[in-house]
């Protein structure tokens, strides 16, 4: 059933400043922003909050981003939620693994501009 209200983005990211940057920007762009600071909390919020899209870091405390992604995609209730990786890992093997696991897109933090990330979020948004 289509959800009402603002589209909801969950950012799973342990860096407080990074979360603030994206929280401010996404709220300005009209999204609802929720956040988690580690992999376990992130996965719990994916299930409890049912976000429209997840921005996922890979190097996370408690549970790494690859495992979080694996669990999101293994659960029939969450497998269709688009996940965009936003990480500093840029090795070809990391990118390939994340895309093979079902990530919608893979962005490298230092190489992408804030506005480009927002464009990707909008582009990957599921049509309702």
């Amino acid at each position: 059933m289509p959800k009402k209200g603002k589209p909801k983005i969950l950012m799973i990211e342990d860096d407080i400043f990074f979360r603030k940057l994206y929280r401010d920007k996404l709220v300005r762009e009209g999204f609802e922003f929720i956040e988690a600071t580690n992999g376990i909390e992130g996965l719990n919020k994916v299930m409890s909050e049912n976000p429209d899209l997840v921005l996922l870091d890979l190097m996370l405390p408690r549970k790494n981003g690859f495992d979080v992604l694996k669990d999101i995609k293994a659960n029939p209730n969450t497998k269709d939620i688009p996940v965009i990786i936003l990480s500093n890992l840029g090795q070809e093997s990391d990118v390939k693994e994340a895309l093979d696991l079902g990530a919608q897109d893979y962005l490298i933090k230092t190489e992408v501009r804030l506005s480009e990330v927002i464009d990707k979020v909008k582009k990957n948004f599921p049509k309702k």
Binding site: F17, L21, K109
Partner: protein, 239 residues
């Protein structure tokens, strides 16, 4: 934090770990500066904008240093990855020449590209070969002599290889330093005068990229003035 992912990605040396940890604050700074410059947080005056652009440029410099350090540690730990996919070297070179031409023109330097008559496909890593070509052209333009300068890019078929060359009439490298050109952190005195901020890692990384791609890279001093850098890459035979 993230230790297992570091291990998974074979990031083990302290330099790589520190370089990786620097990436987050760099991305955060870039993001905040970008938001301020865009004016969406509030109006900024001309001088404030100028300072913010200067800050952003310096953050970009930090980012380049960190990326170069990471590349070097990957090369030394023998885990630098180079993909091998078919690329049209001529189209790539043309694109890079266009990217640099307005900057070059602004400092009185003409960049000329002589494409080959035939389509030449090589087996290489598009992003990394682009990095090599960008580095060679940017060095040739940046280290130009006083007055009008010229940089000539040529691509030719040589047996089962494609030969790329980048000829300049710039400041060159003193004879005593010729053996150090591809060494890590090498910068000539003249280069330091022109651009004190360079890392001295570009050519070292270029050498690794080309050799891992099955090619060779070298240079010669021109008879008249400046240097010519060459590299080869394995050609994909046309059907």
């Amino acid at each position: 934090m993230g230790e297992e992912v570091f291990q998974k990605s074979k990031i083990s040396e302290p330099v790589s770990i520190v370089a990786h940890q620097l990436k987050n604050p760099i991305s955060v700074l870039k993001g905040y500066l970008e938001a301020l410059i865009s004016g969406e947080i509030g109006k900024i005056n001309k001088k404030q904008k100028e300072y913010l652009y200067d800050a952003l440029e310096n953050v970009e410099r930090m980012s380049t240093i960190v990326n170069h350090l990471l590349d070097v540690s990957k090369i030394e730990e023998k885990r630098y990855e180079v993909k091998k996919t078919p690329i049209n070297l001529s189209a790539l070179a043309k694109d890079v020449v266009e990217e640099f031409s307005s900057w070059a023109k602004a400092i009185n330097c003409e960049v000329v590209f002589n494409p080959p008559a035939d389509l030449l496909l090589v087996q290489a890593d598009l992003i990394k070969i682009r990095q090599v070509i960008e580095n060679l052209i940017s060095n040739a333009v940046k280290y130009k002599s006083q007055g009008q300068a010229k940089v000539e890019i040529r691509i030719q078929k040589k047996g089962n290889k494609v030969l790329f060359s980048c000829k300049d009439n710039g400041i060159g490298v003193p004879d005593k330093d010729l053996k150090k050109v591809f060494s890590k952190f090498y910068r000539s005195e003249d280069a330091l005068d022109i651009d004190p901020a360079g890392t001295g890692l570009g050519l070292y990384i270029n050498k690794a990229i080309i050799e891992l791609s099955g090619g060779k890279i070298w240079f010669k001093k021109n008879k008249e003035k400046g240097m010519t850098f060459y590299f080869t890459l394995p050609i994909i035979p046309s059907p």
